[in-house]
């Protein structure tokens, strides 16, 4: 079975690298980038990326701007906001812009995996319904 492609976006490499490693161990095609711009470039090259784990506080493009850009270019890609700088307003705004869910660091990997699977299920359901087929 083809591995699900996951992208994690976080400027904290000490968090990003072990997370990506742990996802790979769990059989995901996981990649990590440190900025919103890098994330958009990666998604350009890999439009089949299913889920993006996105931090809110990023250098350059902010998390919200990155989310908007992702949803504009590849609406099928699900985004899970994963941040230590939680605020209700930012969370609400993220969900309004199409994020699948909002997770506050530190969070157990099991919870992240659960949300990834939930997001993938929603993506697949939309894909099959052809909502976003052009």
């Amino acid at each position: 079975m083809e591995q699900a492609r996951i992208l994690a976006v976080d400027d904290e490499t000490m968090f990003l690298e072990p997370l990506v490693q742990r996802l790979k161990i769990r059989n995901y095609d996981a990649r990590g980038v440190r900025t919103g711009e890098d994330a958009l470039a990666y998604l350009e090259e890999n439009p089949d990326t299913e889920v993006v784990l996105l931090d809110m506080k990023l250098p350059g493009m902010s998390g919200i701007q990155t989310l908007e850009a992702i949803k504009k270019r590849s609406p099928l890609t699900e985004v899970i906001i994963l941040t230590g700088h939680a605020s209700l307003e930012a969370g609400k705004k993220g969900l309004r812009l199409g994020a699948y869910d909002f997770l506050l660091k530190p969070v157990k990997l099991a919870e992240i995996l659960e949300k990834i699977e939930g997001a993938r299920a929603r993506r697949n359901s939309r894909y099959q319904d052809g909502i976003y087929m052009k």
Binding site: E12, M14, F15, P18, A86, K105, P106, V107, K108
Partner: protein
Amino acid sequence: MNTIESGKEEGKRAAAPRARFFKKTMLISVAAALIPLYALGASIYFYFLSSYQKKTLEDTRKLAESRANAIHIYLTERTTLLKVLAGQTTLLECARPGALDEKLELLNEGTRSFIDLGAIDREGSQAAYSGPYPLAGRNYRDAPWFQDTLCQGVHVSDVFLGYRGVPHIVIAIRQGKDPSPWVLRATLDSEVLSGLVRFAQMGETGDAYLVNTEGVFQTPPRFEGAVLKESGILPKRVPPGVSVTYRWNAAGEKRLTAYAWLPKEKWLLVVDQDAREGLPLLATARTIELSILTLGSLVIVLTLFVLNRMVIRQLGDAERDRAALDSELAHSSRLAALGRMAAGVAHEINNPLAAIGEIAGLMDDLMDEDFVEKAPSGPMYKEEIGKIISLVERAGEITRRMLGFARRMEPKMEVVDPNLVVKETVSFLEKEAYYRQIEITLDLDPAIPRIRTDRSQLQQVFLNILNNAIDAVQENGHVLVSSRAEGQTVAVVFKDDGPGMDAATLSRVFDPFFTTKQPGQGTGLGLSISHSIMEKLGGGLSASSEPGQGAVFTVRLPVSHSL
């Protein structure tokens, strides 16, 4: 110790302006009330004094005038009687023995004012006499009154001693025509005249007497002097008619004196009294007025004192209320600042915490079963890494709670499990209860429905009630928090075994600013705010208690809002 002293100083500083304000308002209000009162009192008194003096002058004047008229009428009547008698007789007839006695008897019918009666021929020789004195045959040819009578026809004399040596008045009438006129002469008892004058001697100091044009007493004065002595009055200076004036006598006393001329008789009636005679009445009026003024002033000052005290007390209460409100606002703002700080700290800690968690998780992932079994201390590594992960989770819980505290500042309706809110609130106070050896027991019904409400406000209510309960119970005290469904409501009950409250305290327990805590320990707003929050949330907050039986606070939440 310092705090208490500085508190006292602050109290003194707050009391000083209030005392000054009290003095100032008292001074102004007392002045505003008493100045018109005393001005009114003074004007009434002086009006009364002036009216009284005018009335006294008028009364004295009228008395003098009426007495003078009475004396004049009396003398005129006597003169007329004598004229009528003289007109009805002749000298010859008078000379008949016993004739004058009959006539004198006739004259004195009714009033015994005539002493004697004599008929005198043109030569001045008394032809006939009836009376008690041996005056028959006396000759009056050279007496001034005789000559005057012959000339004027009628003569009323001043009081004089004459041949008889006692004061008397002569009324003489000329009768018959020239060349043989004769004179009918009668002597009036001057005592009768004195009696008429004495009627005008009023009160304790009043005097009345007649003086002739030379100022010689014609009737005896009441106090000093005697008939035919100098009176000291100068009649020539007295204006005609009736007049009233104040004068000073020889003893230096102020006298109120009325003068009334008897024009025909050329006598002056003098009526006088001590000017202070009416003073006792004035003094009584003054005493009554001063008593009313003093009593009125006392009532006014007392009333103003009480009113001003009330105003000052209310101002003080308002100041205290404002201070309490300020303190509550400051407290809220400190809480908000603390919330923001807590959120900032939580955010900063979350990122490294998440990194630690992921690194530890990766290490755990990398330790396969083979490694754990074969590597030296492999199981120990696995166990310690497990501890790191567990500690990261615990720290994460703490930062989440801090964020939750910060978030309570924002009102939000959400679906809430009341039991969870109770547990979370109790967890905030667990440490404090532990240190004070207070046991908080939970008896929560897991079957109660979840409800839609503002979680943070509900938590604030629970926190206020629990804080009060912890403050109320002693060491080793108990607080029981239970929850149950009651028809269409969920009830959360907080029961403590503290000292309880009497009915009076219980009735005011939800009043704003009502507190039984020491000053500075409580604002008296907690339960009041809680009560209004519960009303706003569509529920209610009630309390029941008895002294010595602890207190029970019940929060009721409507299930109609449940989801």
